[in-house]
């Protein structure tokens, strides 16, 4: 049988290789927050009746002028509301001239204002608080539903640790993508993060359930062997569920979907992949490390692992 657990420190190292650069990027350049969080400018204009450019053309035009985050909304009376990061007077004139060139008509400017965030600071804080409370509730729930086996509390804690790992990976990847490819942390990102959290916890419990079931059957087995056996048994299901629930659909959306949802699909794809990965390679190994209390050997030279 495969011994998936013997390389557990390697898995942790791989995760750190992804997380640490992200954290460094955040520390130096900060998170690439979008206008949903920071606010920006709102330009409202109208073309003559005959000219109705597609909103995506205006977004492209903004991008050409170095403003990468324009969002265009149209109204029933043919006005365009363009929200973007802050643009000054000169930039505005440049953009309007560019539009006149491209669409053949000088647009009439109806209003030009700075706007505040649509997601206030307090909403972000409270979403964070809600997730923290939910995490504690999940720990309590797992402790309760695994009460039949020893140390049920550990299962709850390890599930949440692995879930936090997934969140960190998503944030790190987004920060790196933000700095190098102009990705943005917007309201869609918040949605992706919530989805990853939900999926991650659900997947951890399914994998842990197999350990719970096997604990009752194989009472004599060392814990490490038992956990390894359990994750090997759930491997087929883990892979298929991952393929079905995210890979096929999100890959299609990331490759062929519209521009606005491409980043969202990609971040979600990475996050959900991590949800499956961390159940097997973070959450389960953490249980073993806890059981063996391996941290006692971390600073005493080479740690010894049980041979399977």
């Amino acid at each position: 049988m495969f011994n998936l657990l013997s390389k557990r420190y390697l898995y942790f190292a791989i995760s750190l290789i992804i997380i640490l650069p992200g954290l460094i990027v955040i520390a130096i350049w900060g998170l690439p927050l979008s206008i949903d969080f920071t606010g920006g400018s709102m330009l409202e204009l109208k073309f003559t009746e005959a000219v109705a450019p597609a909103p995506s053309d205006i977004v492209l035009l903004y991008q050409g002028a170095g403003v990468v985050d324009a969002q265009v909304t149209t109204t029933s009376s043919g006005e365009y509301i363009i929200r973007s990061s802050f643009i000054d007077e000169d930039k505005r004139i440049e953009l309007v001239n560019a539009m006149a060139d491209k669409f053949g008509v000088e647009p009439t400017i109806l209003s030009y204002d700075s706007v505040g965030p649509t997601i206030g600071q307090e909403v972000t804080n409270r979403a964070g608080l809600a997730i923290a409370v939910a995490a504690i509730a999940v720990i309590l729930f797992i402790t309760f539903s695994f009460r039949g086996i020893a140390h049920s509390f550990r299962y709850g804690v390890c599930a949440i640790l692995a879930m936090l790992h997934d969140v960190l990976i998503v944030i790190s990847v987004s920060a790196i993508g933000g700095h190098f490819f102009g990705w943005q942390i917007d309201s869609l990102f918040l949605t992706a993060l919530l989805t990853v959290i939900g999926f991650s916890v659900q997947d951890k419990i399914v994998v842990f359930d197999r350990i719970r079931e096997n604990s009752a059957i194989y009472r004599r087995l060392p814990f490490e062997v038992l956990v390894n056996h359990s994750i090997v048994q759930t491997l087929q299901r883990s892979i298929n569920t991952q393929l079905m629930t995210s890979e096929f659909m999100l890959l299609a959306m990331a490759l062929f979907g519209g521009v606005t949802l491409r980043e969202f699909s990609l971040i979600l794809l990475i996050g959900l992949l991590m949800g499956t990965y961390s159940s097997l390679f973070i959450a389960a190994p953490s249980l073993v490390i806890w059981e063996n209390q391996e941290w006692k050997n971390w600073f005493k030279g080479k740690g010894k692992t049980v041979q399977v």
């Binding site: 700075s114 999940v138 999926f199 062929f256």
Partner: protein, 459 residues
């Protein structure tokens, strides 16, 4: 399963009802005078809606404090959530404007009227004078921000007699204000009229107890935005800090007032300067492409399930389709405003539903490899897979209830929309896996008289 024919009949009946609800152009249900239509409500990001431009109602040359505009935005968001108008986005624009966007083409007029009420509640010492309900009065509380002529409905009654004019020009003493209220709920009195029950903060309780003790038999005025809404006499001292406001309320107006009191008064009066229809924020062309891509992904999932898991795979696709129809019907009945976060919640719960099916099929294959006969293997597979399905889904439901609760009490509508569709989806999925997948598999195994496991199960 002994009653599997009965279960199958129930499944088909429920499915038929759900399909009827899901059908476009559904006429809705009319019971007596109540008509209920089942429309798909899409959020601002997917469909667009009404945009309302609000402006601070102060003279043009007067500066508006930036912080008070921010506070006003937060209060508007909380109020609209409190009123049950979901997925509204508010944004401060410039120095004195707030842009509000409402999903769908609903009649925003009434909602905005309720939202923009300044909502300054005062308990006023009227002494021995009885003041008519609807009278506009002056109070000792700084009234500079409130503009009674613009913000409050005109006083009812004809203020011609000398005493009325006297009442209007007297500056009455404010005892406590809306900010001294701790809890506010709408209840009904013994005549079944809506009243607003409140509980005072410890500070307010002290002041109010002292005042009512010293003024038994006199009048107290309950004044909203400088207009008297109720003027009861004090029958006995109120020392417990609890009371109720009765007035000419309907359930709706009582709720609206309760929401205003709960989330505080607006620091600045607002007026509507423009209302118009806006398109989706995510761009219709982009959505179309993503939808198409999603459908392609779905077809791949169906193909994979059928090719890899053979017969049980095909059966669970049927179960998932049943799940999809039921969930969507539920969204239409409630109704849920579908936004992108909402759809993410739906997709996640669909993922959970697929996972539950995969868990059972994988277990089924394990049992079959051990050489059990097919119906026994199905029962065992279900028994073994159930704890993992139950616990993982319960954890998701717990998470989404907490997210929903936070989302609705703090105005994070994206969080709320996500949590609602997720919780509903998971609940339907649990019922679906318990009854539909099991029953359909059981029938399928009988119908196809399976002998060759390799062919039917891919073992």
């Amino acid at each position: 399963m002994r009653h599997r024919v009965l279960v199958l009949v129930i499944i088909l009946v429920v499915l038929a009802a759900a399909i009827w609800v899901v059908l476009p152009n559904n006429p809705g249900i009319t019971v007596g005078e109540n008509h209920r239509s089942f429309d798909t409500v899409l959020g601002l990001d997917l469909q667009g809606g009404m945009q309302v431009l609000l402006e601070a109602d102060v003279p043009a040359d007067q500066e508006v404090n930036a912080q008070s505009m921010q506070d006003a935005r937060t209060i508007l968001e909380n109020r609209s959530n409190g009123l049950g108008v979901s997925e509204v986005v508010f944004q401060v624009a410039g120095n004195r404007r707030i842009v509000g966007e409402f999903p769908g083409l609903t009649d925003t007029e009434q909602v905005v009227a309720a939202l923009k009420q300044t909502g300054q509640l005062e308990f006023v010492d009227f002494g021995d004078t009885f003041v008519n309900v609807g009278t506009v009065v002056k109070t000792s509380l700084g009234g500079s921000q409130v503009n009674p002529t613009a913000e409050t409905p005109a006083a009812t009654g004809t203020p011609t007699s000398e005493t009325t004019i006297d009442i209007q020009n007297t500056v009455w003493n404010t005892i406590i204000t809306g900010s001294d209220l701790k809890a506010v709920v709408v209840t009904t009195n013994n005549m079944n009229q809506p009243i607003i029950s409140f509980e005072l903060s410890p500070e307010g309780q002290k002041v109010f107890a002292e005042f009512t003790t010293n003024n038994v038999g006199k009048f107290i005025g309950i004044v909203l935005d400088k207009t008297v809404i109720s003027s009861p006499s004090i029958d006995e001292p109120i020392t417990e800090g609890k009371g109720a406001i009765s007035g000419n309320f309907t359930i709706d107006s009582a709720n609206a007032l309760a929401v205003q009191l709960r989330y505080g008064s607006l620091p600045v009066a607002l007026k509507v300067i423009e209302t118009r229809i806006v398109g989706p924020t995510l761009g219709a062309d982009s959505l179309q492409k993503s939808l198409l891509a999603g459908i392609v992904g779905l077809i791949i999932v169906i193909l994979f399930m059928t090719l890899y898991y053979r017969l049980p795979g095909a059966v669970s696709i049927l179960a998932i389709l049943n799940y999809a129809v039921l969930t969507f019907a539920l969204y239409k009945v409630i109704p849920v405003t579908l936004t992108l976060p909402g759809i993410a919640g739906l997709l996640l719960s669909t993922g959970g539903a697929l996972d539950a099916n995969i868990l059972i099929i994988e277990r089924l294959k394990e049992e079959l490899r051990l050489g059990r006969n097919i119906q026994t293997a199905l029962e065992l597979a279900w028994k073994r897979a159930w704890p993992s399905i139950r616990d993982s889904n319960l954890a998701t439901i717990i998470t989404s209830i907490i997210l929903f609760w936070f989302g609705s009490s703090f105005g994070a509508s994206a969080v709320k929309g996500f949590a609602l569709t997720l919780a509903l989806g998971v609940a339907v999925s649990l019922i679906n896996i318990t009854f539909v997948t099991r029953t359909l598999l059981s029938f399928a195994f009988d119908i196809f008289k399976i002998e060759n496991k390799a062919k039917w199960f891919g073992i």
